[in-house]
């Protein structure tokens, strides 16, 4: 296909503004998928995604469209995930496109998250074409939505189609605008191969399937390719497109989007944003924008039943086949036994992995509170990276600790500046800037410690702005902070799995919050249980769980035996769901208590 008949685009939208529905209609109206084959929102092919209404795995579909101008076009629709954990992946998917369709809900107008995604698209030099969706709803106000697009984003909305993705109304106009406004790719077909990797997944028969966009040159079956970030070489066994089923081809041409298989054994080797080139005729430069994948958040995952340690390892290995961003290594905890330290892109990613382990692999897990990676500068000049607070060296050995900082861009209506700044301040944020986007919207920029974000920042932000604010962040590096490990002692014993690293200024407050929370969670036992928080050997907070001193059935005669035995069985079952640490039974929720940040 000649490049002038190719269009590569994404659809960007705020959650629930109709991105997936529009994708479904486009597939239907280009006869890519017959209506009877339609499952709602077929691009989200993991159940979990469908349940949570979020797209985690990227996907690309090729379709042909016969335009009103009489020509047949090849469209590549590239789907993108929509959460801050995946900003980098989104940006790489966008980099595979020349344009983006911006869906704005006619009943809601432009929302903060829409702006974040649009800017990401504009950053990648994409042409953004707006459409106004949900015009079938009585509360639709398309003119206001258009005005917002023009005023808030600065895009021309005069030609924006008014559509109903649900009913299929005017979707044809969207397709025409894609042809008309989104530029054709302009790579050099004769140049050495330069292809962008924007996704991958593992197929047990053919190895890793790599989603690529051919920027320059072409890719044929049999080619010897090289991945530029790590130099690994493979022979291409298959190439093709998806429509959305896989269709094998002999080659992928310049400007096209498709997939390749090359007997690659591990998704870890195939990095999103990396450049594929030919081993014997490499391109001069890799494509810009590549970043090493970085785990932002770590936590310990332990099976409740220690006997299932091997099952957990098998399950993690299977998940990792398809999730290059999941990292894990074995670790042991005195309190929890054998488990794994796992690294994630962010909290959502962590939740998703945990949920899949529990649901798909039927495991009962205890997760320790998430931690970021600290840079610990030792007195002897050595620098250690620590992702598990329990492993922090003794205070005397530490020169200082540095923690990862992010630059947070919070977009919100200006009415919420006060609460947002207060929140950022409470989270140890350093004010940078406020940019007025227009009369009503602002961009608030703060430097914040990542550790504060991985707790409950996002929820707090949503609740203090009635859901209007959006958050985009990027890691900016490490900064020295006044940090120390806070140990939690239960019944005089340090519980390693409950250790956390805190800012000394907030230590008292955190310590008393955590001890109070633990007091609520841990059931009374036969003896009084002191719960203490200590920093550098100094107790900074303390509370006691009073002993219950009586637990005996008052009456037990001939007629009571069965019933009373059942009561005891219930008590036994409850006990089994707890973890015995020393002489204290601790319920699973306790290990998340260090997350508890509630102020009084």
């Amino acid at each position: 296909m000649e490049q002038k008949y190719i269009r590569n685009f994404s659809i960007i939208a705020h959650i629930d503004h109709g991105k997936s529905t529009l994708a479904d209609r486009i597939l239907e109206q280009t006869n890519t998928v017959q209506s009877r084959e339609m499952v709602d929102q077929i691009l989200d092919d993991l159940d979990l995604e469908r349940e949570r209404g979020i797209t985690i795995k990227l996907n690309a579909v090729s379709l042909t469209y016969k335009s009103d101008d009489g020509n047949e076009y090849l469209f590549h629709l590239i789907d993108t995930p929509g959460h801050v954990d995946f900003t980098y992946e989104v940006s790489r998917s966008l980099a595979a496109c020349e344009g983006a369709v911006l869906v704005v809900d006619a009943t809601q107008g432009v929302e903060a998250q829409t702006l974040a995604n649009v800017y990401l698209a504009i950053d990648n030099d994409l042409t953004v074409i707006p459409v106004i969706n949900k015009i079938d709803l009585p509360s639709a106000q398309p003119e206001i939505a258009k005005a917002e697009i023009e005023n808030d984003i600065g895009l021309d909305a005069s030609d924006a189609p008014l559509i109903s993705a649900k009913l299929g109304t005017n979707v044809h106009q969207v397709l025409e605008n894609i042809v008309k406004y989104i530029p054709a790719p302009s790579g050099n077909p004769k140049a050495p191969l330069q292809a962008l990797i924007f996704d991958s997944y593992y197929d047990s028969y053919r190895g890793v399937i790599v989603a690529v966009r051919i920027k320059n040159g072409e890719l044929k079956v049999g080619d010897m390719i090289q991945l530029m970030s790590n130099g690994l070489k493979y022979q291409v066994t298959e190439v093709g497109i998806r429509s959305p089923k896989e269709i094998n081809k002999q080659k992928l041409e310049c400007g096209e989007v498709g997939w390749l298989a090359a007997s690659i054994k591990s998704v870890q080797d195939v990095r999103v944003g990396d450049t594929v080139t030919l081993a014997d005729n490499p391109c001069a430069e890799p494509l810009p924008g590549y970043r090493e994948l970085q785990s932002m958040v770590y936590c310990g995952l332990y099976p409740t039943d220690n006997a299932r340690y091997n099952d957990l390892r098998d399950a993690l290995e299977k998940l990792q086949l398809n999730d290059a961003s999941l990292k894990f290594e074995a670790e042991t905890s005195q309190a929890l036994g054998f488990g794994f330290r796992c690294g994630f892109l962010g909290l959502l990613h962590m939740d998703v992995v945990q949920e899949r382990l529990e649901r798909e692999y039927n495991l009962d897990l205890i997760a320790t509170a998430p931690s970021v990676v600290y840079e610990v500068h030792l007195a002897n000049g050595e620098v250690k990276l620590i992702d598990n607070p329990a492993l922090l060296p003794a205070n005397q050995m530490i020169e200082y600790i540095a923690e990862p900082f992010i630059k947070a861009k919070i977009m919100a209506p200006k009415d919420y500046i006060g609460p947002i700044m207060e929140l950022c301040q409470n989270k140890r944020g350093l004010y940078q800037d406020i940019v007025y986007l227009d009369d009503t919207r602002v961009n608030i920029i703060y430097d914040l410690p990542l550790a504060e974000i991985v707790f409950d920042f996002f929820d707090k932000l949503k609740s203090c702005t009635k859901g209007y604010a959006s958050l985009d962040y990027e890691l900016t590096g490490y900064r020295k902070s006044e940090l120390a490990r806070m140990d939690i002692l239960i019944n005089g014993e340090v519980i390693d799995a409950l250790a956390c690293i805190v800012h000394t200024k907030f230590a008292y407050q955190r310590g008393s919050n955590i001890t109070r929370k633990l007091k609520e969670i841990i059931p009374k036992q036969q003896f009084e249980i002191p719960i203490q928080a200590s920093v550098s050997g100094k107790i900074i907070a303390r509370t006691n769980i009073k002993a219950y001193r009586k637990n005996v059935l008052a009456k037990c005669y001939g007629g009571d035996v069965s019933r009373k035995k059942k009561l005891l069985e219930k008590q036994k079952e409850g006990k089994k769901r707890m973890k015995a640490v020393g002489s204290v039974d601790i319920p699973q929720e306790a290990f998340m208590a260090v997350l508890s940040m509630d102020e009084e």
Binding site: K550, A554, C556, Y557, G558, V561, S562, L568
Partner: protein, 363 residues
């Protein structure tokens, strides 16, 4: 031979808000039909001589004098020489009924006094008062029934430690041989449960229980079971059958019996019972359940479980079979082995449920 026979009389003059036993409001016609069926069930057992007979309820004394006479004279044909107990509620008792008991060989009574504090009697929804209580004892004196037990309760919302102590003082000053004192249990389907009745707080109830043990032991009523105290040689022979995990028959609505490794429970439905369909279910217990239940009952006694007897009866070495549970609780100071018996310490008795959970080795 089975040692004990329990007979259930499921009628009451008044239904108390906390009670979850099978019972109905007394009705003369229904009671007569019930007694017909009860006699049939007891005859069908096929055993004529029991060491102990215990008539409980409900309220056996809610029966009319004629019905009570009929029942007790029938039961006097089934032994009870060692112990023949009938439960009494003060508000449905009089001299006539006392004489009927004496005549038919009843040699022990258990009186549901619950408290001597009329405010608390009111709170617990009992319909008798102190006058009834003292009259009851007077009638028994007149009839010459000397072996008597009283039931008390504690743990009420408005009850103070002083209230309790005053009850204990009155109890030991009565001429009784045996005191049972129970912490109030709130059951879901009773009026107390439905109204979400709040007991006295946990700490108070603990202190109350301590006080009870201390006080009664000091006044010659020795604790021999979690909630039971007796003068020397006055322990309930019938109830010891349960705690020794021996066999017994139960007859009447909702009664239970245990024969070997089988336990049965009778129907809770009057119509079924009156139609001769006595059994609700019969369960065969597994070996491990039997072994556990013997411990669950035996550890309620201060004397504990005789290890040799246990081993012989249950075909396993108690100390070996439950070595982990025993070791753990001995180390915690909750169990001890003394004189060939496995028993709770006084601290262990307080948290018997926790100990027992460790013995549930099939879970």
């Amino acid at each position: 031979m089975i040692k004990g026979l329990y007979v259930h009389i499921p009628f009451c003059a008044h239904t108390c808000g906390y009670c979850d036993f099978a019972k109905a409001k007394y009705n003369n016609g229904l009671a007569s039909r019930y007694l017909n069926e009860l006699e049939k069930e007891i005859c069908a057992i096929g055993q004529k001589e029991f060491e102990t007979v215990y008539v409980g309820g409900g309220t056996p004394t809610s029966l009319s004098s004629e019905q009570l006479d009929r029942l007790l004279s029938f039961l006097s044909g089934f032994g009870g020489k060692k112990e023949f107990t009938v439960e009494i509620n003060p508000e449905t008792f009089d001299l006539e009924k006392a004489m009927i008991m004496k005549k038919n060989g009843v040699n022990r009574v258990s009186i549901g006094i619950q408290s001597f504090n009329e405010r608390l009697l009111n709170e617990m929804d009992r319909s008798h008062n102190n006058e009834d209580t003292y009259n009851t004892l007077k009638y028994l004196d007149e009839a010459g029934i000397k072996n008597r037990s009283i039931d008390l309760m504690y743990g009420f919302n408005s009850q103070s430690l002083e209230d309790l102590e005053s009850d204990l003082e009155k109890a030991v000053n009565l001429d009784v041989t045996h005191i049972s004192i129970y912490e109030l249990e709130v059951h879901e389907k009773t009026m107390f449960g439905i109204n979400n009745y709040q007991l006295a707080d946990e700490e108070t109830r603990y202190l109350m229980y301590r006080k009870i043990i201390e006080y009664l032991n000091a006044h010659s009523y020795r604790q021999y079971e979690v909630s039971n105290f007796a003068l020397p040689y006055s322990q309930s022979q019938h109830n010891l059958i349960y705690w020794h995990y021996e066999d017994y028959y139960g007859a009447g609505l909702a009664a239970c019996g245990k024969i070997g490794n089988e336990r049965y429970e009778n129907t809770h439905n009057f119509m079924d019972y009156l139609n001769g369909n006595y059994r609700l279910e019969v369960n065969k217990l597994s070996l491990e359940e039997v072994r556990f239940e013997a411990i669950m009952m035996g550890l309620r006694l201060t004397e504990g479980i005789n290890i040799e007897n246990y081993n012989e009866k249950h075909g396993c070495q108690l100390l070996k079979h439950y070595d982990k549970a025993i070791e753990k609780n001995v180390n915690k100071g909750l169990l001890r082995i003394d004189n060939g018996c496995l028993k709770t310490t006084s601290m262990g008795m307080m948290v018997l449920n926790d100990i027992l959970v460790d013995f549930m080795n099939w879970l």
